[in-house]
Amino acid sequence: MKKISAVLLALVFALLPLNCALAAGDADIEALRGTKLYVYNWGEYISDGEDDALDVNAEFEKRYGIKVIYDTYDNNEVMYSKLKSGGVSYDVVIPSDYMIERMIAEDMLEKIDYKNIPNFKYIPEKYRHLSFDPANEYSVPYTVSYVGLIYNTKMVKEAPVSWKALWDTDYENQILMFNNPRDAFAIAQSILGMDYNMESDVAWRAAAALLKEQKIVNPVYVNDEVFLKMESGEAALAPYYAGDYFLMKENNEDLAFVYPKEGVNYFVDAACILKGSKNKRAAELYINFLNEPDIALANAEYICYGSPNEAVYTNPDYELYQNEVLYPEEGAFKTQLFRNLSPESLALMSTLWDDVKNYIPAGNSYAALFFGGEDNIPGADAEKMTAETVKYAIYIGIFLLLVIAFLVFRFLRKRYRERV
């Protein structure tokens, strides 16, 4: 019902474009008609008209006559690489917190003129001036959410309360883990009680050691496969983003969600304007549009992540109104935002991640290492790595020997025949 009313509301807006919302600056908005706006957003991160919901981009085009060229990416780093490569340019982009900080630092973002974003009034103080944009000059929050632990109530003996459940050998082969370094490291850092943004080699190595230790339960590193595997009951435990839990639960009633006691990552994805935007005014119009109550509501219900928009989360008609997973009581558990890391730490993280992925556990040193926080399990690490290398080297060697033997055999036979 409320979806229909949202559609109706949108229709009313659409029919009366000049009377509503455009009191100020009508002329310069009119001038934007027929221009193009390039938007770069996460995949599946905007209400697209599915199930009679609002098609946000179509709605924007209809109202302002600005063509939206809409592309999608699958993670912050991909988006950053693409922009940084210098081969593409967009107007609006929606990165996460730490990436915004990095992009500000590298002068990739344009300051937003908040005069043109009257709907910024719906963003309450607690979502403004966050660490990544302290003066709040570059970003308008789009979604806010947390990472949590999803588990299958039929498959776990008792409801987990700690991230350590992901290291529990009882669930060998049934544990999923993030397939991206930052989120994976954050879990280890939570367990070790560390700051996610520490610039210390020792700390990163300690977290990496813990992640290597996890290999003993043979975790499966996943991105979106988490949906498939949790829904089908293939896996018992998985860390993932809070909002996605609802999407999974639609397909598997047995799933439950918990915020582990060690604390979790809190993330904010915010709309920004890229430096060199050729249509800045339209970009601001778009960002403002995203924060209109009905548009923001449609997006919040489609994405299922928390909304920083007051008009949405205080709306009793909102499907997830006062949902305790999306909008937990403040201070109920420890949360940390990601910050931009120094290039050295980023490089270290990426090398350590390669190590983690290639690590083969050495045996049951599980308990000993758990809180040890040292990189090198004496010898074992190197030993096992070598063993793995040697194994494949031997296989390939045997194969090559066979090939050579065959060639030699053929050669000799030919010689023999020629002689005969």
Binding site: N173, N218, V222, E225, G233, T351, I396
Partner: protein, 274 residues
């Protein structure tokens, strides 16, 4: 006349030669350039020096590539022979049937394999109905190899088939007349004559298998890092073009060497057959 025809042939081929120089040769220089520079653009050997760390990954990729190629060869050879024995019309249908799956995104097809191979997946459910215990298939090295075989099998079948279809069957008959039994005919006639197809099939399966990245992430559960995964991570996640380029360079050299060895088997000028 002769000189003129040489000039004409160069003229006809010139768009391609320009194209090849610009878009095949020139990009390779960038790979070399990035391999030996750091992010600031200065000369460094650091990228090359970090490579030994990735030795296990390289070896694993090569081994998986070899196994997948051999399996493809074993599956494809009899099938190609079977198809080549059919009528022209049936042959055409078979070829289209082999190519058809490639017209759907391989991302989606790999995704479907997950639903098939899972512990709670379709195959195991089916086995369960037959009273057979579930087999753990997904997230193993075997699943990764299966994904490679599945995705690249057509590239093995097609070249072998196209050589076999052109085989001169009077030769095969002559072989039979000379008293060859089935096995001997196969060994002395059919296999030697289809070598060019086999060589190009091996190339076309081995190369993508060694460098693939999506398959191992989805079917290997992220635990069977292949060299393609590492390269992709350098370019997409870590924004370390230099290390990525260095890894690519080594991969490229490696493949060029194996292809040179392969081409040694096939006479001719090292050109492939599809």
């Amino acid at each position: 006349m002769n000189r003129r025809s040489a000039a004409v042939s160069r003229l006809i081929a010139s768009p391609y030669i320009v194209w090849a120089a610009l878009f095949i040769i020139a990009p390779l220089f960038f790979v070399v350039y990035y391999s030996f520079t750091n992010s600031a653009g200065g000369f460094t050997l650091l990228n090359i020096q970090t490579l030994p760390k990735y030795l296990p990954t390289f070896l694993r990729s090569i081994w998986f590539g070899i196994v997948a190629t051999l399996i493809c060869l074993v599956i494809a050879f009899p099938l190609a022979y079977y198809i080549s024995q059919k009528s022209d019309k049936a042959q055409r249908t078979f070829v289209l049937l082999i190519m058809l799956p490639m017209w759907m995104s391989f991302l989606i097809r790999t995704y479907s394999w997950m639903a098939l191979l899972q512990d709670t997946g379709i195959i195991n459910t089916f086995l369960g109905k037959l009273g057979i215990d579930p087999i753990h298939m997904i997230n193993t090295g075997g699943a990764v190899i299966l994904g490679m075989v599945y995705n690249f099998l057509p590239y093995m079948i097609l070249p072998i088939y196209s050589v076999m279809a052109k085989l001169d069957y009077s030769m095969v008959e002559a072989c039979q007349d000379l008293g060859g039994n089935g096995f001997n005919v196969l060994r002395r006639c059919i296999i030697p004559m289809s070598i060019p197809g086999v060589v190009s099939g091996i190339t076309m399966v081995f190369v993508p298998s060694v460098s693939t990245f999506y398959i191992s992430q989805k079917l290997g559960g992220g635990s069977f890092d292949l060299i393609g995964d590492v390269i992709e991570r350098q370019f997409q996640q870590s924004y370390n073009y230099n290390l990525g380029a260095a890894l690519s360079l080594v991969l490229m050299v490696l493949i060029v060497i194996s292809m040179a060895i392969m081409n040694h088997f096939s006479e001719g000028e090292g050109e492939m057959i599809i």
